[in-house]
């Protein structure tokens, strides 16, 4: 190819750089990634999928043991403050003493908003006590008890077949704070009274 052709290459000569329409939010520079195992060049920080592949948010807190690890607490629920424009399903799952409490798992479908909306999700945690002879029968519901608790926050989107799978949608989803509510019911194993 000749020098002349290079100099007049329209791909180089005419492609525009659009200046940011909003300097506060539109970055004129951005990271581009090169793919391994494929030919694509990706623009970072755009959309809600990686080259069409979904990904979800996962946040699992470290153990909270309000009364110490030799104590017993009831964990009665959680409050999660979020800000979002994204239509997404948030799933909150408590872990008590390392065990995932599926009875207490809560999914909240958030609608899309044009501008960011703040809301606090309040979830009470109840564990089902089931009839040992027929586990489909719930005989009572109690607050979960244990020494320590963790909170798992995940996001899901519609999988197109009526179900959910980990994912995010276009827009903003921010978790601003969370609180775990508890009550220490037994600080430690009580000493036996000494007989007179």
């Amino acid at each position: 190819m000749s020098f002349f052709l290079f100099m007049t290459d329209p791909a180089i000569a005419t492609a525009p750089i659009a200046l940011p329409s909003d300097p506060a939010t539109d970055a004129p520079l951005a990271i581009f990634y090169g793919q391994s195992g494929g030919p694509n060049i990706y623009l970072a920080d755009t959309g809600a999928r990686d080259g069409g592949v979904r990904f979800g948010l996962i946040a699992k807190s470290n153990p909270l043991a309000p009364g110490g690890f030799g104590s017993e607490c009831v964990f009665t629920g959680c409050y999660v403050a979020i800000r979002h424009t994204m239509a997404v399903t948030v799933r909150l799952t408590p872990f008590i003493d390392g065990m995932e409490l599926t009875d207490c798992r809560t999914s909240i479908a958030l609608p899309a908003h044009a501008s960011p909306q703040r809301q606090v999700i309040e979830v009470g945690w109840f564990q089902n006590l089931r009839d040992p002879l027929d586990t489909s029968v719930v005989v009572a519901r109690v607050f979960p008890r244990g020494a320590y608790a963790q909170l798992l926050i995940e996001t899901f989107t519609d999988d197109g077949a009526g179900g959910l799978r980990p994912g995010l949608e276009t827009g903003e989803f921010v978790v601003e704070t969370a609180e775990l509510e508890y009550e220490v019911v037994r600080e430690t194993r009580s000493a036996e009274p000494v007989a007179a």
Binding site: F6, P10, A15, Y33, S36, A44, R49, G51, P66
Partner: protein, 602 residues
């Protein structure tokens, strides 16, 4: 009833997988993925959008297997990509608009050895050129260092006279900018090439001029320098397990010091970055940081030696990982295939990490302009009326907006009962009607139905509705067909009507006069007599022995052929050719083959 107490979890504090459960702060995280951490909050990260794609030779047919480098060419407002294709093992260079759209193939750097693996490339822009080094530890598998000149689009090999003989090819393992210099490492001289500990510096402001005596040796001979980075006015030289520092600003004051860190270096050539005067790097033991002295551990919250979340995305190889800084988020990312470790730098007293799981494997990154545009073109070519002759089809079309100017127009052709095939890649010209003429070289033949189709391509992306490889699936506006004009009628007879022998000294020569039986006469058309040395008819582009108006049915004498004892045979043919150059089929001489060496009796 009194209120129950609550424990607040302040988001933004990141992972802590190292601290024991008795001491761990409950507001840190055991698992944290795909988030951007800022003080007091946690934001879901955004995704990656395919902007464009590379294909072998830029032809849009064979996708490159890996994108191995993304560079901004700020001096000229362009960007540079390097792609590698596994099957051919070709490493190729592409340039693109500053927005990264529609890379244009520029040159082939080379073909890697079968066992060289997927290449890693280091590049540095300096004074109108970009030096490119193939970062392979084994010199025998390393491609020679190249420099790309954006102004001309030419890729050329870097040469230097480093052993006081003549200029020879240079094979740096890496290159980096420092002050007004380019620093290259991993190469001795042409006669003593495998010197991985040598670090060379060019003449200031002259990226193509390297002097033999301008070098340092970093540590023990034979222990390779892996990477180098400018750091706080010095230059940090990294081996796998040591760090050195080059201080000074000119040849008079330059000197290498160290090791400043005796135990930790870079685990890979692309695993170090300087942000705000601190070098963040991934050592063989995990992430660390240095400001020019012994490095400190910043990766302890990750507990890399311990178990990780069981379903965390698989990690790529350590040595092929890379580090990247996102200026808008102020985070450093260490990326290994699909898994990344992310370190925000906003006002932290201690390192705050999270994981990132990418949906695709990543290999490199670069900071270039965003600009406007999309991966796929949005406009399309609209074919207007085709213009035909017997052997040509001219395809005119309008480029329907939006047309940015970086699209490629693909022209496809189907002749008769054949299949569609792409015959042209053309640069789009926005706002004008373009046309392209197909000829017999493209397979156009007289009296044949020719179908043509057009579409826009940008990288490997097409306008919506045009992605099929069968143009019959594309929108109607993109297609048209025409039957070419009938060709010339072939002559109906050819015979030798006369022969003569001419003698020049001891040699005699035989020549012939032919009579042509023309079937049909067309004004301006020609009759052509051709010969071959076998029974295979001449091709359409074969040169004639004689050419004359097709109104002329008797030729001039054609020859002469030397008379000799050894037999020599010729096959004679005649054809007509229309005024537009379209030839008819050939008609064979009834007497074929003719022994032209031993006289001829009518």
């Amino acid at each position: 009833m009194s209120e129950r107490p609550r424990q607040r979890i302040d988001f933004g504090l990141g992972l802590d997988r190292e601290t024991g459960v008795g001491l761990v702060d409950p507001v840190t995280f055991e698992d944290l993925r795909n988030v951007d951490l800022t003080p007091g909050r946690l934001t879901a990260r955004r995704g990656l959008e395919a902007r464009t794609a590379l294909s072998l030779g830029g032809l849009g047919v064979t996708p490159m297997t890996h994108v191995v480098a993304v560079h901004a060419l700020r001096a000229v407002g362009q960007s540079l990509f390097l792609g590698y294709e596994n099957a051919s093992r070709k490493l190729q260079v592409f340039s693109a608009a500053s927005t990264g759209l529609n890379p244009v193939y520029r040159a082939e750097w080379g073909i890697l050895g079968a066992d060289a693996g997927i290449p890693q490339v280091m590049g540095v822009e300096s004074k109108g050129v970009v030096l490119l080094a193939h970062s392979h530890a084994d010199l025998s598998k390393r491609l020679a260092t190249q420099y790309y000149t954006p102004a001309t689009g030419v890729l050329a090999g870097l040469t230097a006279n480093l052993d006081n003989t003549t200029a020879k090819a240079v094979k740096f393992r890496g290159v980096a900018a420092h002050l007004d210099y380019v620093i290259g490492w991993g190469f001795g001289t042409d006669s003593d090439a495998d010197r991985p500990e040598i670090v060379r510096v060019n003449l200031p402001g002259e990226p193509l001029t390297w002097r033999p005596e301008h070098y340092w040796m970093a540590g023990v001979r034979g222990e390779p320098v892996v990477a180098g980075l400018a750091l706080r006015g010095t230059f940090l030289v990294a081996k796998e397990n040591q760090l050195y520092l080059i201080r000074g600003t000119s040849r008079d004051t330059f000197g290498i010091h160290g090791p400043i860190d005796e135990y930790y270096g870079f685990a890979g050539s692309h695993l170090g970055i300087v942000v705000g005067g601190t070098c963040f790097f991934w050592s063989l033991e995990g992430p660390r940081a240095t400001e020019g002295a012994a490095s400190t551990d910043i990766g302890f919250p990750l507990d890399l030696g311990g178990p990780r979340p069981e379903d965390l995305a698989a990690s790529g190889a350590l040595a092929t990982g890379f580090v990247n800084y996102l200026p808008n988020k102020q985070v450093v990312e260490f990326i290994f295939g699909q898994r990344a470790y992310v370190l925000p730098l906003r006002a932290r007293k201690q390192p705050t990490w999270s994981y990132r799981e990418f949906g695709v494997e990543l290999r490199c990154a670069g900071l270039i302009f965003v600009g406007s545009g999309t991966a796929a073109p949005a406009g399309y070519p609209d074919i207007t009326t085709l213009v035909k002759t017997a052997s040509t089809v001219t395809v005119p079309w309008d480029n329907i907006a939006p047309v940015v100017g970086d699209e490629t127009v693909e022209l496809w052709l189907k002749v008769g009962a054949g299949a569609y095939a792409k015959v042209r890649d053309l640069a789009v010209e926005a706002g004008v009607t373009q046309e392209e003429t197909l000829t017999s070289a493209d397979g156009i033949t007289p009296g044949t139905l020719c179908k043509v189709a057009l579409r826009f391509r940008r990288g490997l992306s097409f306008t919506a509705g045009y992605t099929s490889t069968n143009p019959d699936d594309w929108p109607v506006a993109s297609r048209a067909s025409v039957t070419t004009d009938a060709g010339a009628t072939a002559p109906t007879d050819l015979f030798i009507s006369d022969a003569q022998i001419e003698t020049f000294g001891p040699k005699s020569y035989l020549s012939f006069r032919f009579t042509i039986g023309r079937g049909e006469f067309s004004l301006g058309s020609l009759s052509e007599v051709l010969s071959t040395t076998s029974a295979t008819p001449p091709t359409a582009d074969a040169l004639p022995l004689w050419s004359g108006s097709s109104s002329q049915t008797v030729t001039d004498f054609i020859g002469g052929y030397l008379q000799q004892p050894t037999p020599s045979y010729r096959w004679f043919w005649v054809r007509h050719k229309l005024s537009d150059g379209t030839p008819s089929a050939v008609f064979a001489l009834a007497e074929n083959p003719v022994d032209v060496s031993s006289g001829w009796a009518l």
